[in-house]
Symmetry: C2
Subunit: 452 residues, 2 copies
Amino acid sequence: MSESTKYFLPEDRMPKAWYNLAADLPTPLPPALHPGTGQPIGPADLAPIFPNAVIEQEVSTERWIEIPEPVREVYRLWRPSPLIRARRLEQALGTPAKIFFKYEGVSPAGSHKPNTAVPQAFYNKQEGVKRLSTETGAGQWGSSLAFAGSLFGLEVEVYMVKVSYNQKPYRRALMETYGATCIASPSTLTQAGRDILARHPDSNGSLGIAISEAVEVAASRDDTKYALGSVLNHVCLHQTIIGEEAMMQMEMAGESPDVVIACTGGGSNFAGLAFPYVRENLKGAKVRIVGVEPASCPTLTKGLYAYDFGDTGKLTPMVKMHTLGATFMPPGSHSGGLRYHGMAPMVSHVMELGLMEARSYHQTECFAAAVQFARAEGIVPAPESSHAVKAAIAEALRCKEEGKAETILFNLSGHGHFDMQAYTDYFSGKLIDPQFDQQALAAALEELPKAG
Amino acid sequence: MSESTKYFLPEDRMPKAWYNLAADLPTPLPPALHPGTGQPIGPADLAPIFPNAVIEQEVSTERWIEIPEPVREVYRLWRPSPLIRARRLEQALGTPAKIFFKYEGVSPAGSHKPNTAVPQAFYNKQEGVKRLSTETGAGQWGSSLAFAGSLFGLEVEVYMVKVSYNQKPYRRALMETYGATCIASPSTLTQAGRDILARHPDSNGSLGIAISEAVEVAASRDDTKYALGSVLNHVCLHQTIIGEEAMMQMEMAGESPDVVIACTGGGSNFAGLAFPYVRENLKGAKVRIVGVEPASCPTLTKGLYAYDFGDTGKLTPMVKMHTLGATFMPPGSHSGGLRYHGMAPMVSHVMELGLMEARSYHQTECFAAAVQFARAEGIVPAPESSHAVKAAIAEALRCKEEGKAETILFNLSGHGHFDMQAYTDYFSGKLIDPQFDQQALAAALEELPKAG
């Protein structure tokens, strides 16, 4: 085999700007609404918790937004990330398809999350912020922000869902290695935490609670802002460096994808790879774009496109998105990063415009795909990323059936080094496929806000 | 900052041959001796446990040994590995020195070990072997051989020191993900294991015992061979791809190292980076070459250069090496990969010839260095590799004191994602520096074989 396996862009070809899909959307994104008044929110509403540069990006319709040089300098620690041809997987499947993946697990924190953690830390530092607060579930986001904070000299305070705090001590150790403080949520440090503990002293916590704690801390301290790891427009924006690089690398490989695949939780790793291809489709290209979600939390495939809150406590602005209802509690699974009731408004809008497809898989079939991938390519995927692996394999097998030599590109958003308990459970047969609860969905959708 | 941070060789410049230092040594390596007769061993003595191709490499004095194309094809999954300039660490230290590191943690198993696991699996497969047996301590080597076995369709049976088997379930999960079988040692599957259990039913195991079990399995089954992850000549040989790549990448960077640094346990990651530079020194270059070992297991700095056994059970051939005595039990530490009583005979020979320096550090100062490195460069080093990080920082601070802009190159042999318990212990103040026991050393040296 003489052809290349990996495609590395030289550092001087690393993109100098993020791509903003808002500039090219045929219809604009519905505005976010104030939780109290139901009226569109303005920058002033967000100022207590986000720096100005981030707020500007959140509402910008500029097509290209320059990546500041200090951010590019940090990106160079691991970017451009490799594009890899999964030749051994192709052989194992016996498919005529060509399978490529963009590998974001090479980042220090092991996933795509630092792509946005680094600029968020930079903008906050530039505006004189001393401390960032955030929430984390499984810990991918918390460790990424901890890493970014350490590089820009910002304190980072991470409210980690208590059940994960206790079950995943090594993610916590990673955050501490980067110098961050990690607090089990609900905590006694915030009013939100104390309220919950008064009612539920044994609470295991939830992302919704942890968000409330982190936001409260940011809103109540002058030197502290809040950082979010997915869902919002500026987060999707920062991730587009994935797709911009991939496009150049596919060109280096002399290929062009027929299908582009990424998993969807809050939507940012999907947006990162897919939005540049959505742009090309709007100009006439015909790339199939596929979002993959867990069958236990099927936001795009079973949710409603409606205004809803971002958190369980209904304190955030309302955004129009695919949602299972802010009070819907997704069943436990090993893909903590995909257990979110909503979807990035920008991704939801793309879905509504018919510019993408969505599908869902159960976690055991995703782990089976991840193990097959690991045995062929060596890399152990994060449970979240295994959803994209599963879909890529399904597409490759379809190509085999149909005798088509299509080119498949997927985003391997992270490695699974900190998720080996999930693999242990899978091998020991302990892993079950949580069934989706239609009645709980109906009840949660009943509670959607009437606004919008 | 406009200069590059990372240097990637294109795949077509990946070395086509391993470098064999035996060809250039001013005096030849003393032969290995038969444990029974005390006479030099021949290929026939090794045939029951190693394939012919490996035995040939073990005794070869050819300067260049071709890397088979199927091995290169697998190497391409992660090789050439990056050379990275640690610009942020330089800034943090305020040193005029330039610090470069070769990063081997990009391999699927997270360390340099697959560089030899892959060719060993390949040669065994080629000679019709069905199954490989091996031992592992912390699990780096076991997971690397498991990975290599999965790619060539070989069964892999790993005898894992029982205390690690219980303490490090995630390394075990990684081996199982690659399809290997992992057995707690001592086990009831071998005579060696049963003997130990009869005398010590609660035995926690040791590398020496696990080696005996793995060798017994290989020697007693026709379809099974044994694989070793360090110490032997062929292992050092396979690792030289690290130094050959690094040399080309330093040239890309327009630099040439004044000091080359690697940690030393069995000696293979050190040999991998250093031997190509030893060659250049033998031709007149003047690069300082530094091996770094734990103060609790100071083979090169406090051991004797003498014939000794490779295992505690004294079943292996005797080799001339720096040794603390085969019965010396290194105190527990988080650098499992450096807890070996001996040293690669080839590295020991290089030391005796005055072609390298050696020094030792305590583990807490190594963890402090590793944390400083992680906060500057993002990568969390493996505890073993932190010894090289510590030495590189010490050299950079010396340069600062002396006002010298030297160029430092070290081998970051692996990441610490599976070693976060060690970091947790470090942060909680639980980590102690085991003192080196001079009396135990004296007692163990008393027991050295008289042969040779």
